[in-house]
Symmetry: C2
């Protein structure tokens, strides 16, 4: 291994498809707490720098769900792509009420920079995923600087928003069952009002549909959505993204996968397609 592991404490290293899943703890200056992330380094990383896929997880998840349940390592090892899984919120920060609900606070950072107290001090997940963590991993792992991004549900929202707000940064962007219009659905309204207050202009900066409407990025989206997803009609509403992408001529491939639900079994079934899509753009 050629990596230099400064400011990182290795928690575990587990061999997987001839590569390594490594979990690290580090102190985040952005979030003002200790954070854990996981990175899959494919076997190719032993000899040459490799591209990186960001995976943003959904509500209640940690760095572990995707690594344990997606089965992504098999194809990542073939394609020579590293995958990084950040956690989904600050941890152990002792904010009253942070652990009270599954869809706000711990495990539900929504990839925003909070402006409202008591959240603003720690809940700066946009900057953590867009700035601090990339700097850390590019300085410490055998990566070639090319990045793509994907995610699930709340993490799909994160992937779309991070890509839309940073035109040109990611080689490609995809999502599984993303929250595309948080301003208009219960999960999003709870999170955005809690973290950002009532300022609708602030909400629009974290709303994929609003950002597509704004039109600063035309990066294509590749999205899979299960038709048997329990959250389809109330929380996810992919038709809103479809409409605005059509209006704004924003390139979108939205696949409706018959009979699939919101679980990692859905992700596992189609993750190979996503990895191959990203590999095309990362090479």
């Amino acid at each position: 291994m050629t990596e230099v592991e400064s400011n990182l404490t290795l928690i575990s290293a587990t061999k997987s498809f001839d590569g390594w899943i490594k979990r690290y703890q580090h102190y985040s200056n952005t979030l003002k707490c200790n954070m854990i992330f996981a990175i899959y380094l494919p076997p190719q990383a032993e000899t040459n720098p490799v591209p990186l896929l960001w995976w943003l997880s959904g509500l209640t998840c940690t760095d572990e769900n995707f690594m344990q349940k997606s089965g992504a390592q098999q194809v990542a090892a073939k394609l020579g792509i590293a995958i990084i899984c950040p956690d989904t919120s600050p941890r152990g920060v002792d904010i009253p009420g942070a652990d009270d609900s599954y869809d706000f606070g711990s495990g539900a950072g929504f990839y925003v920079n909070a402006t409202q107290e008591p959240w603003a001090t720690h809940y700066q997940m946009f900057d953590y995923v867009a700035k601090e963590l990339p700097e850390l991993v590019f300085a410490n792992f055998p990566l070639n600087g090319k990045e793509s991004i994907s995610g699930h549900s709340m993490g799909g929202h994160g992937a779309l928003v991070l890509a839309l707000r940073q035109p040109g940064r990611y080689a490609s962007v995809s999502a599984f069952a993303p929250i595309v219009s948080p301003s208009t659905v219960p999960w999003g309204q709870k999170a955005l009002s809690g973290y950002l207050g009532d300022d609708q202009q602030a909400w629009a900066e974290y709303d994929a549909c609003a950002l597509v409407k704004k039109g600063e990025s035309k990066q294509p989206f590749f999205i899979d959505q299960g038709t048997a997803d329990n959250f389809l009609t109330e929380q996810l509403r992919p038709e809103l993204l479809e409409q605005i992408c059509y209006q704004r001529q924003h390139p979108l491939v939205l696949r409706h996968q018959e009979g699939y639900d919101h679980s990692y079994f859905f992700i596992a079934t189609f993750i190979d397609d996503h990895l191959r899509y990203h590999a095309q753009h990362l090479s």
Copy 2:
């Protein structure tokens, strides 16, 4: 679906690689309690009966671990193999001390028929996996009657023992990091003495090395063992199986997988090889 679901309560049905993971509850007359199992039905089962692979899980596991973490569905769907995951012990049976340790009682049935009270009334896992559950699933799912068996750790022990004691039943048998000599290692000694008492002859009926020595079956074993497995030297001791198989000319392929540990990441890496091995024998 052509299956008849008598005496079975469907808990969930989740689409995976164009097939279905289904979890059922049923009352077990053998174990005298309600049990849950999971079965993966590949897409081929929609039109024709398919062969069945038994997967026996290790200590602390339920029917869920393999389905969530092995990634087996992808290749099972290609090969047209159903996979059934029984639970690892009776559940909810209110035996004092049953939940006190991870390696005895709940989650640790060791696939034996207990003779010692208070365990004997419920802990009849050998008969449950060898008789009652097969009868139930063959009567209720689109299966063609051909079976193979595999498992991990305690479940690898179970797979080897079930195959050795039922010559000719399974088309093929494989294991990941199995306990091969429970009579001589701490996990096994605790379980066998607790469930069977001090009768060493009874122990030998659940000890793969002793059964190979006895020589009633010459069915080949296909086994993967990680070299970085924390339990390798104290609990697993594959060299004991290697020695007795060599002495008795019992066919054994034992692969030492460099750097792999005892986790499901190890299983996920090599499960494809096992499924393809079983498919050859099941076709």
